[in-house]
Chain length 312, copies 2
Amino acid sequence: MLNNTLAYGLEAVENQLQSIVDSDVQLLADAGLHIISSGGKRLRPQLAILAYLAAGGQDLDVVIPAAAAVEMVHTATLVHDDINDHSLLRRGKITVHAKWGRTFALLAGDYLFTKVYELMAAYPPEYNGIMATACIRLVEGETMQAEAAKAGVMDRETYKTIISRKTASLFEAGARMGSMLADADENTIEALADYAYNLGLTFQIVDDILDIIGDPEEMGKPVGADIAQHRGVMAVQDGVLEEVVAVTAVAEADDPLAQMMARLRESGAVEVARRQAEEMAQRAHAALTAIPESEARQEMVALIDMVLNRQK
Amino acid sequence: MLNNTLAYGLEAVENQLQSIVDSDVQLLADAGLHIISSGGKRLRPQLAILAYLAAGGQDLDVVIPAAAAVEMVHTATLVHDDINDHSLLRRGKITVHAKWGRTFALLAGDYLFTKVYELMAAYPPEYNGIMATACIRLVEGETMQAEAAKAGVMDRETYKTIISRKTASLFEAGARMGSMLADADENTIEALADYAYNLGLTFQIVDDILDIIGDPEEMGKPVGADIAQHRGVMAVQDGVLEEVVAVTAVAEADDPLAQMMARLRESGAVEVARRQAEEMAQRAHAALTAIPESEARQEMVALIDMVLNRQK
């Protein structure tokens, strides 16, 4: 029953994402469809839909544009990230940046961002306020990350702030909007928002871990890309970072990435990060106790394990 | 009387622009304030305010965030344009791109765009729809321009479409929102939107002319920058473009820009463009006849001459 509903919702999101990027400017339509149809876990729209259902929502169609919008925000930032990171592969496909060049990737990212705005425009002001704030936090988080990468300095506090803003805020916004659209009471809204926020933190820490120990073929992108830019999981253990930076400086000519990653794996940083991810997952679990039992809630519990234990 | 009201409105817009870019991520606050406080003609917010007044609006405060938002869209695109154009100077000041580097300029542009969203969020859906559409058209226009520049081919029809989308759409959106906020009737809204749209076309053609014949010191930026990228006024006369492209190819090593611009000045293209600007200005005039006489309407008439005859 829930599986059917969820599948219907995710398919509707997919259709909306694909149709809304259409344009008579063929390059934008092509680049938009390229990145949209390159897959992705669709975690953010799933959260918006599940929050809507867990809060008792009955008409899935009202949450679809908002669910598509949170995925579109994420997609737009991926296109711009790939420019700044010089990434060639994303989800196993060539990046917009690598395929169309920097100028058009910049414009394609802008274009996808305008489509967020189009998807959200029909909702009342409070929804647009939530989405605007999430977008602002996301760009702030990315900027802090780029600053830390440039300075080669990142402490645990900064890392937490970065992943909170760049990832958890948007997870939270999706669940908050979903539950609000179901006319949930304040407690339910806050519980579902809290769940999604902590799931977002869990997701990002695991993502940073996978950048170190993941299988590149399963990941569909090179492993170590984040590390090469002095960011990611190493940040969760302050002392390790200095070591990593030192190794980068020394071993520049001699496959520094492989060395750096080997050192990092041996340093214990991954284990520390893993424990932090588990703690965030526990908080996500705890938040869910405040909402009534339902199939959607069960799925949200399952999602925590999926996020925590994913291999890609 | 009107002058006081307009000055009050523009000062309120200025304050809103400056305060809304604030962030605890200092780099974003600094880069935002840098570009915001580097001046600019503030034509777009002026249009939103004048349309509001010409349509009988009484409480200027309701139009300020929308007026600030149209200027913010423009400002965000300037930051991204300067990345793609490798521009070092803008309004006589160093560009965000030149001062903070490409990565942060990309993020700062994204940040300013999220601030558009924040400024607009409190308005009802139809306003967000108008703004979303204007943003989409703008990015489409910029993309078409970059494509034409890359291909080295631009005909008159394409040029018209580009300036309509990248410039006139946002002018129109400002006036449309301003008149709607004053509860104007349908005819008044369409007349003011039509005026602003044609003023936008006039503005852009004159802008492209100034790129060829303007005084660089008065302009606060190098002259010929647009031409160097095969775009701008040359496009209004199809035949000239081929000639310009041929000149570029031949004279690459020998100050091609100076030669190209001299040829262009002699070709008559500027005069053709000038006549087109005058025609668009006439249309803007004509649109205004449909709305009742007022100080704001007089100011809108004066604005046409100002836009048509500006030297910078």
